[in-house]
Subunit: 357 residues, 2 copies
């Protein structure tokens, strides 16, 4: 059974929760917009379903709702931002705005962030660049759930990469993907449905292929994109590692197995190698390379040509961002479906802050 809630109602409720947690009205507005962009775009695992998780992290003293987010080092095209333990939902847009400013000044801007928390969906931050005729990029490290090729130990997060590229008449190209075969959210769906996972998504505690979606509870791990060595899992391991290093080693955050867990009941590593989680955000001004109109009309051509590539019988060739954009149109109109369990969580959060949901 699912409940349909309007975007506006969910947005107002979420904003108010962040205010009650101590966020400024402006920060609560940003945080609720970023969080709910996941629900709008159909990435239900990263949206309002996580609100209770953020509340618990705040209760555990791991989120500072009045952070002094600031640049601690910079050059004309780079900066390191200290998120001061703030919500990643607020820290990442702050950092992306700096990347955009630097791109405006010198062509590109690149910001590595330390001392942050989970930032919602990467695509939302990357897309901030589009209206400025820039290419946007966003990545983050995350709780260690992924085993490198040939390892049984969980060393990396699902470490997503997002790249948003503007077009002219066509909608933008927006890639946003975990560097694993399947995101953890997809496993959670299988768990709820009591279904098996395809091979290549997970391994058991000994590193053997498994189809049991509960394997992570028993010491198993998610697999890097590729699945196994024969199918290029070393490439997914490379990608997840690059995200980890750009986000955390470059900024001074915790990297690899030291990355702080999202769930508040898991302890932080006793021997941190940095501060909080890390992100990496980038912006490249199109006209730092060629006139924006020229580029965007070639992007129209690129997108049209790929969308019209000969399809496999009965299938349709998609452009990155197509499914999420269609979902957003639908859900802004028809509302956002919430699972019973999510509604219960939100009611619990409402009770905590004496709000109605």
């Amino acid at each position: 059974m699912s409940h349909i809630v309007s975007y506006q109602h969910l947005r107002d409720f979420t904003r108010e929760v962040f205010v009650r947690m101590g966020c400024s009205p402006a920060d609560a507005d940003t945080a609720s917009e970023v969080l709910l962009s996941a629900d709008l775009r159909g990435i239900d695992s990263h949206g309002v379903a996580r609100l209770t998780g953020y509340v618990r992290l705040w209760e555990a003293g791991r989120i500072n709702t009045k952070p002094n987010i600031r640049i601690v080092h910079e050059t004309p095209s780079t900066a390191v931002v200290d998120g001061d333990s703030g919500l990643g939902l607020v820290v990442a847009p702050f950092a992306m705005a700096i990347a955009i400013q630097k791109a405006t000044a010198v062509g590109t801007g690149w910001v590595s962030v330390k001392n942050s928390n989970h930032f919602g969906i990467a695509g939302q931050h990357a897309m901030m660049a589009l209206e400025k005729d820039m290419i946007g990029m966003a990545m983050t490290n995350a709780s260690p759930l992924v085993a490198p090729t040939f390892a049984t130990e969980r060393m990396l997060g699902t470490n997503p990469i997002a790249v948003a590229i503007p077009a002219n008449e066509q909608p933008p190209f927006v890639a946003d993907f975990a560097t694993t075969t399947a995101a953890n959210g997809k496993l959670e769906i299988l768990q709820r449905k009591h279904e098996e996972a395809p091979t290549g998504w997970i391994q058991d505690k000994d590193g053997q292929s498994s189809t049991n979606p509960h394997e992570l509870k028993d010491g198993g791990a998610l697999l890097p994109l590729g699945g196994d060595r024969d199918h290029g899992s070393h490439k997914g391991y490379c990608l997840g590692s690059i995200v980890d290093i750009f986000s955390a080693v470059l900024s001074g955050a915790n990297y690899g197995p030291w990355a702080p867990p999202f769930v508040s009941f898991l302890p932080l590593a006793p021997d941190p190698v940095g501060q909080g989680l890390g992100h990496f955000l980038g912006a490249m001004r199109i006209d730092a390379f060629r006139p924006a109109d020229e580029f965007k009309s070639h992007m129209d051509n690129w997108i049209t040509r790929f969308r019209n590539a000969t399809p496999v019988a009965g299938e349709k060739v998609l452009i990155p961002g197509d499914p999420e954009r269609e979902m957003e149109t639908e859900r802004r109109e028809a509302g956002i479906p919430l699972l019973e369990a999510v509604v219960k969580d939100l009611q619990e959060v409402a009770g905590k802050f004496k709000l109605n949901f």
Copy 2:
């Protein structure tokens, strides 16, 4: 049967071939170094085995050995380079040097290149940044052999990505991989051995999974990293597309199915959308983010921790770049093994230029 040839002999021969094709001594030196870096690092498909391919492209008038390689547009952190149909083996190092100069000045440098040709292995260009205490990146588009998810048509190249990151006491992290399940070179090896390919590497002309390594000759295609939709092939398709757009749409080169083929017997697209092939090169100064010594000692820690991750029984956890570095040490000492077919090709090239091999 394989022949072992010393690096020095192969290097001298290759340099002389480039000189006879009309390259300046300096360009011939660079081109031979870049081409042979593939043989040294064990990526035999991209090394001297391709020398005859470059010669044929030159004979077909598609390579200009006296190019006027130049910047056609720039900002403090970006440039577009016109390769003037030169050897990618020469054009890419020229562009990477500009990226490094710009990073020296403003923190990062990003160069998109048009009107070039195949540039050898991406990793070699990315690694140019290491000795400057910079992170290096290199990517290129290539002949269309890869079908997007749900397509039967070949729209993208194997479009590799390389990222090189310096450490202190540990050797550098060097990732260099095609954005497909398996590179075309691996299929060629199976063809020669008359062996089947694993599922997930290729599809037939109707988009059905195939294990026949000759499938490309019959209208089949390589598959994006992930293999199929269930295993994340849409992510590999995203990666290949990003490489194509950064390398070719940003610079004004041919993109997607318009990318010029490496083999001279295939015609160029009759309706080009740009000039030649495209590359994208980047450099980020470490100390544009944090002190280089601090970063590099954390990289030592990252590398050591990952190398010591609990392994699957009987396996060893590797750091990106480990196998290629070990191969290079071995081959610099013991020489480079060449297949009979490659030796014959090189003897034919030798005959053409009245050289000995």
